[in-house]
């Protein structure tokens, strides 16, 4: 029985996938939106509360294994700033045109930085994107 318990433990240890390690911790703003985020084909733009901007996406490539070309993805993580973020988004979209742009910004990020990010996207005609938020739960007042 103990053997079975350890087998289960090892199975879960081997199959658990964690979020990519380089992403910065960000406190998300709250909203009532219930649209779920898709988990593939996304280009992540992270804006921390110190107004640093990072672009993070998976780029499809082919790698050679035993002389064969195999399709795989490589993770690109770039630190950038509000003005050049559109350049990196276009780079990412050139490799994967279906990708959705997702902005994960800290709630204390200054609005000025976000405005510049949105402006730089707008000039490149990237007008549709999503903002990741936490669920806002209404506190019902008693009495």
């Amino acid at each position: 029985m103990v053997d079975i318990a350890f087998l289960l433990l090892i199975f879960y240890m081997a199959t658990t996938t964690f979020k990519p390690p380089e992403t910065k911790a960000v406190t998300l703003p709250k909203s009532h939106s219930e649209i779920k985020l898709p988990d593939k084909d996304i280009i992540n733009i992270t804006v921390t509360k110190n107004d640093s901007v990072y672009v993070d996406y998976l780029e499809p490539t082919t790698i050679e294994i035993d002389g064969n070309e195999v399709n795989s993805t490589v993770r690109k993580y770039k630190e950038t700033d509000a003005a050049s973020v559109a350049y990196y988004i276009n780079l990412a979209r050139a490799k994967n045109y279906k990708a959705l742009v997702v902005i994960k910004a800290d709630e204390y990020a200054s609005y000025g930085t976000m405005e510049r990010v949105m402006e730089s996207m707008q000039t490149q005609k990237l007008t549709k994107f999503q903002v990741v938020t936490d669920m806002k739960i209404e506190q019902k007042k008693e009495g």
Binding site: A5, I35, F129, V131
Partner: protein, 219 residues
Amino acid sequence: MAGDVVEKPSGGGGKKGLRRPKRRLSIRIDMTPMVDIAFLLLIFYMVSTVFSQPQAMEINLPDPDEQANEVEVKESNLLTIWVDKDNTPFWLIGKPTGKHLPQPFPRDPEAPDSIGFVVDSDSLVQILANENRENPKLNTLILIHPKANFASMVELLDDIDVLERSWNRALADKLGKKVTKLTNKDGKFSYRYAMDKWEVGGRVDNIIRAARRKAFGEG
């Protein structure tokens, strides 16, 4: 007792006839309680783990070519919302003058530092709802100070979205249709708003400073 000292009798003499003076003692510990604790922990974590699913809010910016077109709006049809650098929101219908200054939104008494709306008669959503109900041709313009938090923009756009959804839901119930099947011909409500740049050091700063003085009595 959990541990027991078990004495093994020494083999008498052994094959070679050597005497073994030392007696071997083996100590056996009962491991059952440890396995019990391991399972308890496992069951606790299996039951209490909740995976947080991130939610997303969709934003559609206007096309940059369309945005360059200026739209003429009558003063009485314009609701302007300003969010100052300390995240205080102000609103006004019409053009701001010395006599006609923006007023701050009433704050949620339980979260005085946020814009967040209170679910009763004096709240941001109520103000938006009332003004839009009285004037269906109302256009909203939003200006946010560059030093304000991003959360202010998200909360404002979220409140607008909540208003839009609740009105459309009420309309769908009245017409007996599903919300997703509402069309513009049914009178589907789509909140019209535009965001503009707050030029720091310009006229807007003076207006809001005057509004703050009037509302909070700052010098």
